[in-house]
Amino acid sequence: MTTAREAETATATEASGASGKPIAAGVGGRARRLLGAVFAALVGLFLLAPVLVTIASSLTTTSYVTFPPKGLTLHWYAELLNRPEFLDSFLLSIGVAAGAAVVSSALGLAAGLAIHRYPFPGKAVLDRLFSSAFAVPTIVLGIGLLQWYAQLGMASSPLTLLLAHLVLTVPYTVRLVLAGLAGLDRSAELAAAGLGAKAPRVFWHVTLPAVRGPLIAGAFFALITSFDDLTIALFVVTTDMQTLPVRIFNYLQYNYDPTVTAVGTVMVLFAAVAVVIIERVVGVAHLFGADPEN
């Protein structure tokens, strides 16, 4: 949606810039604005189309996925109930994603504080590592983790999956926390201590509020990244333990019925609900001034 608005703004600016030509300006300006709106709509459609197609085709009465849907039915959603493996996978994905959110926030906070505050050997290396972790292709990470787990004799479990996802998410939360801490005036902590606050209360009342926004954003990022991950999970899961993306992926190799689009729609709904909830929480954080400049 931002894209659409930006496109509009850009066109409007150009239009006003064209007012140097008095006669053509009115017509040209209107045409440009119209063109801009069309462009914006196209971009929006391009972004939303896959989602819309998935949702629409989950309503088809045919036994294969097709768009536009032929007829309308909720049969495939009912069919989901006959497939407990999808529910199991959904619960596994949610559980691991929630774990990734909580653990990477905690680790991100701890690591961020350590890097920001204390000198320790290897600090520079660690800092560099956290900043460049994004650059590693996830498939390489998956292969590496597969090797590691095999070497260590670690059997596949939700825990190994969680650890794998933490490799993806922790660097991100660390960066966010560091950015938050950079904006914290160290003297504010000294001031709080001088006013009688013991170390835990200084942390609670001064340090934590400074990184609250980053922690929420980091947790959200971790949740979505973990819930969404297919590449790494493919290497780490077993036939008994499959995350939802893996389950869908595998299912699609042998079936092409609208059950998968029904699952996809549920996933979209879940993500939308998560976004709304987070928006609420972050919005509340705004009220409390967690994000001073906005």
Partner: protein, 397 residues
Amino acid sequence: MTAGTDTVGTESAPTEADPAARAGSTRGRLVLKGIHKSLGGKEVVRGIDLTMEPGEFLTLLGPSGCGKSTTLNMVAGHLLPDSGAVEVDGRDITRLPANRRSMGMVFQSYALFPHMTVAENIAFGLRMRKVGAARRSRRAAEFLELVGLDGMGERYPRQLSGGQRQRTALARALIVEPDLLLLDEPFSNLDAQLRVRLREEVGALQRRVGTTTILVTHDQDEALAVSDRIAVMAEGAIHQLDVPETVYLRPATDFVAQFVGEVNVLDGTAAGAAADGHRCRIGGTHLVTATPVGTAPGDGESVRLYVRPEAVRVRALPEAVSGKGGPATTSAPAAAEPGLPGTVEATRFLGTRVRCVVATAAGRVEATLPFGAEVPGLGEEVICAWQAQHASLTARP
């Protein structure tokens, strides 16, 4: 002239006011004993000793990096001295953590809590002391009024100007009725006009509440304007600790003389005590007087004099001595009066005063003539003189 000329240049003797008499304070007697501190392998505080009376306003004045903040942070409990002791009201608090001391601190960066309202910021210390919400908000309102922020309690720090932020920080520090108020360059982030206004306000407020206060600053105007006493610091040591008038008019060291304002430095030899000070011979023959810092030098010892341009009086030389012809007069010979003769080399109009440069046997002497004084002409023979109490005499380094 950059020095705080508002407080000097008067003929009256420096007032040795008793700071302890202020507002009936009985609390907040600070003693620092032989404080040393190294940071990053460098000794940044090298043996600080000082005693503050309850209610006193003392300024640590020195250039950036001389160890002022480090000293203040040891008083506050944010740093532990390597050696030495910090005592408040006779109690050794050297190893007491900051949160168990009673110090209100104000920082250059304001250091407010951005997610709390102004009122919540101010009441923070009370909250940490488990004071109930009703009493907290009542006290916060009182202190908002005290610092002139009535009605702004519900705002957030980001919605305040720099001056308002610093007032908030001040109220936050004072609400806990601390033993000491510690101000670390509190005005340095403000623009020049506001800086002057706020420092006057803080001075007035301090006199009202009577809290023993240490101000850290590198701005000598600020130090001269608000302090009961000034400790001039350089490289981790106190060079001079005295009332502003004395620090200004009778600097103890080269460093103090140069740092606190413009100064005339004259070398000579000691020539015995006089009624109002100590005599000193300059350029071999000319006698002037000054006040010795510390023990008086023995006769004939090499000494150095510091005289501020404001303290120097320029008088026309009587005709006879100037040798501008005419018969010998019967007036008293000029040599009997103490002073340094010379020739006016330049005069500069500086708005409210005139600067006069006199070439003497001991080099150039600069004098600031008071407003309305007669300005000598170029090339005129004059005598530069000053009162003994307006010049300091030190052993030559």
